[in-house]
């Protein structure tokens, strides 16, 4: 293999330490589920009322099952990595203590107080940037997705959607689209870093 730059070494370290998060296809079913739920809440996807809750739960359950199955695909196609216990303890602490609660609170605040600017757009944009940074950088598409989500926050102010619950419903669908596109692009980027194995007839591994 050719000479390595410090940047190559950083990338190797980042992808190995955060391999789970770079398995982009795993996020696609979750994105599809968020999109479906957002559209259902918005009334764009009509389901007979008695079946509504069951369909939502079914969609989320199916997404989780497909996402887990895709883990097997990555193990077979790209190999397996076992992480060091506690390596990301600080990230996990910050995520559960600050980031996730802030994201949840912003959604609730947008629904309850219906501000003219959707707070969730900015908070979730920050969450996406924090996610990118804390899981190994790269994936420049999140640098595009974050400002787009923040811009989404201005739609009620511009009169392009009703503030409050209606805006939150569409926002959830928009986050679903970010998950889908972001996941696909993560997958392609991982495929560029973890290149196809050279086809040789040489011997089995050590």
């Amino acid at each position: 293999m050719p000479g390595l730059t410090p940047r190559d070494l950083e990338r190797i370290q980042a992808v190995t330490a955060n391999y789970f998060f770079w398995q982009g296809l795993r996020w696609v079913p979750m994105g599809a589920a968020l999109l479906a739920v957002g559209l259902y809440w918005s009334g764009w996807w009509r389901v007979p009322a008695p079946l509504g809750d069951a369909v939502q739960l079914g969609v989320l359950g199916l997404a989780l099952a497909i996402s887990a199955a895709l883990g097997g695909y990555y193990r077979r196609r790209f190999g397996a990595v076992h992480g060091i216990a506690g390596m990301h303890a600080r990230r996990e602490r910050i995520k559960w203590v600050f980031v996730y609660p802030a994201m949840a609170v912003s959604l609730v605040a947008d629904m309850v107080f219906a501000p003219p600017v959707l707070l969730s757009g900015f908070v979730w944009a920050g969450g996406i940037l924090a996610y990118r940074r804390s899981t190994g950088g790269g994936r420049a598409h999140y640098l595009v997705a974050a400002p787009l989500l923040a811009a989404f926050g201005f739609l009620p102010l511009l009169g392009l959607m009703q503030p409050g619950k209606a805006a939150v419903n569409l926002f959830v669908a928009a986050v679903g689209i970010v998950f889908i596109i972001g996941g696909l692009l993560d997958h392609f980027e991982l495929g560029r870093i973890l290149r196809p194995v050279p086809a040789t007839s040489d011997e089995a591994p050590v």
Partner: protein, 109 residues
């Protein structure tokens, strides 16, 4: 100020070879990884990767364990305590050399 090139000779060649440095860097970022992951990460053929791993195992830096996932044989690689220490020291040395080179350039220019 002395030129930084003298420090290059002190680098451990076993570790500093690009493929082995990539392998050790990846293994330092995890508890263990399998052969396929390292092969895809380095882009090496099976034979080449096996050869590098055998050298690292011989030097006591890497542990190689063979298991089965159902009926499929899987090779798991991990760093030994010595390997983790050596790669950490190697990075530190590289960082110092880089800093030294930048200072030397600044003073020379």
């Amino acid at each position: 100020m002395k030129p930084p090139f003298e420090g290059l000779a002190e680098l451990d060649r076993l570790i500093h070879e690009p493929a082995r440095l990539a392998i050790l860097t990846a293994l330092a970022a995890c508890r263990s990884a399998d052969f396929l992951f390292l092969q895809r990460l380095t882009g090496l053929s099976k034979g080449n990767l096996s050869s590098h791993l055998a050298k690292l195992e011989e030097a006591g830096l890497v542990r190689i364990e063979k298991t089965f996932d159902g009926k499929i044989p899987v090779t798991h690689l991990s760093l030994t305590r010595q390997g983790r220490g050596d790669i950490t020291r190697h990075w530190r040395r590289l960082g110092e050399l880089r800093r030294h080179t930048l200072e030397w350039r600044a003073n020379d220019g």
